[in-house]
Amino acid sequence: MTELTANPDGRVVLDADDIRRALARISHEILERNGGDRGLVLVGIETRGVFIARRLAANIGQFEGFTPPVGALDPRLYRDDPDQASGQPVRPTSIPVSLEGRPVVLVDDVLYTGRTVRAALNALSDFGRASRIQLAALVDRGHRELPIRPDYIGKNIPTGQDERVHVKLAEVDDIDEVDLVRMSPVGTNPAVGAEA
């Protein structure tokens, strides 16, 4: 595989207002689909999925008067391609309630190959048998490699395999923004370091 490096001419595809509106809409959709079920649990996939899940929970709290519990899941140990991320330490998973019989919304920032979601579904089943599991993602960039489809999507962004979607959230990146960055082979653009 050729190593790629980011071109500096990243394009902003979602700004802070777009993200806020998308998450507000998803929150409404979650309520609509689940009929205001008070057993609802949101589980974010580490790291940015967790922040998105917390924002969705806060929205739901505002709209409906009850704030669903939010869990954090690191599905690394369930991946079939563990070396993809082996440089990063495994984070503790915290699921605040038993998932037994509850509807669960799994939340991630970017939906891509579907392998992370597949791993997360396996991991979730170790925390109890949820009554149903739905999938929410801020961005769906296509290129699925597994039969996985989202239930709630912030924005569909058609991408090339040589592009990267960078979701930046104020909680960790000081800004709310989604960038689409084209990658070029290492060496052609020495000014910028490689990033996933």
Binding site: L77, D83, P89, R91, F127, E195, A196
Partner: protein
């Protein structure tokens, strides 16, 4: 892509740290680079703690946090190392280390085979070399070795493709024990840098002490050791360690009271009966009177200081029963943390796919 670039950064950070106290004197600059290049991220083995940079240690400890959570689950089984075979070969007796590795491997979904030296071909006189090649021929994915002779795991690592983990070799090293102690300290004290850790007992023969001292100094702790002069390494006299030595920065205390004074954590080392038989100690009872950790001595340390012991304990010799099972003891936590830490080590060594293995072959 991400991981390879991170690794290069780690390497350069470690390479720049030639002024750090752990840089071995005879290295002449070259070994500092090899510190980084022989670390867990670049190399496939964990043979000693010397080869890990502070960044690599931190990364393993971070990972162990995640593993500890897995250990506490109702369903503590993950498919991370499914299809991998891990073999433990222990040429010395062990309860906690061997079982800890076995549990760690099993929670990660690997198959773990324990080779008992007494019932294997080793008792027929098979050499370490041939045993290693035999295991390699069986497509073992990781070898965990404990051996009474220093360097035995390094020797095996040179001859097999599978990752080798040193589970204790002679008087040399016990890297996973040092790492689990660092993990326990970090969890309980909120950090390692600047904390004062007293190590008391048989420093001369203890691989736990040696790896512990290196790991603690590397992570910025203040380390003070104390023990009978007969059980201290040659030339270790009270005061500070000589500049340029591998233990530079270490404080050697005159008395156990001085060592414990103001300590954030106290590590009692195991005293073996053999030491008395070999003439290092006149009497275990006298050792207990002079160096044993009891309530009175522990009270010299900071309030609520942690009491640690690598096990197995000789209660009433190096540690009194009262404190061993008292409120300050974290000895059982060390055992629990050992499983999580070893999960992190096995995951780091065994989860690498073919891409990385192939990349490793390239010069």
């Amino acid at each position: 892509m991400t991981s390879s670039s991170t690794r290069r950064e780690v390497q350069s950070v470690a390479g720049a740290g030639s002024s750090l106290p752990y840089a071995e004197a005879p290295a002449k600059g070259g070994a500092v680079v090899s510190h980084a290049s022989t670390g867990l991220a670049r190399q496939r083995h964990l043979l000693d703690i010397d080869s890990l940079s502070p960044e690599e240690i931190t990364s393993l400890l971070d990972s162990a946090e995640g593993m500890l959570e897995v250990l506490g689950r109702d369903v503590k089984k993950t498919p991370a190392l499914r299809g991998k075979t891990i073999v433990t070969v222990f040429y010395e007796n062990s309860t906690r280390t061997r079982i800890s590795f076995e549990e760690a491997g099993k929670i990660l979904g690997a198959d773990v085979i324990n080779v008992s030296v007494s019932s294997s071909s080793v008792s027929k006189g098979e050499s370490l070399y041939n045993t290693a090649l035999t295991l390699q021929a069986m497509h073992v994915d990781a070898l965990i070795i404990r051996h009474p002779h220093a360097g035995a795991p390094h020797f095996v690592a040179r001859h097999v493709k599978a990752p080798v983990v040193n589970a204790g070799d002679g008087m040399h090293a016990h890297p996973t024990q040092a790492l689990l102690d660092l993990f326990t300290l970090r969890q309980r004290l909120g950090g390692i840098a600047g904390k004062r850790v007293a190590i008391v007992g048989d420093v001369l023969y203890s691989r736990v002490a040696r790896s512990g001292i290196i790991g603690l100094l590397r992570m910025g702790a203040q380390v003070v050791v104390c023990g009978p002069p007969t059980l201290m390494p040659y030339g270790w006299l009270p005061g500070s360690a000589p500049a340029g030595s591998w233990y530079e920065g270490l404080e050697i205390a005159e008395s156990v009271e001085q060592a414990l004074d103001g300590a954030d954590a106290v590590m009692a080392l195991r005293i073996q009966q053999e030491r008395q038989d070999a003439g290092h100690l006149p009497d275990l009872r006298e050792y207990s009177n002079r160096y044993g950790i009891n309530r009175k001595r522990l009270s010299l340390a900071k309030e609520g200081a942690l009491l640690m012991h690598p096990g197995p304990m000789n209660e009433g010799v190096e540690i009194s029963s009262e404190v061993a099972h008292g409120a300050q003891s974290v000895i059982e936590e060390q055992v629990r943390n050992g499983v999580a830490l070893r999960m992190a080590v096995l995951y780091a060594l065994c989860s690498r796919g073919r891409d990385q293995a192939a990349a490793q072959e390239r010069p």
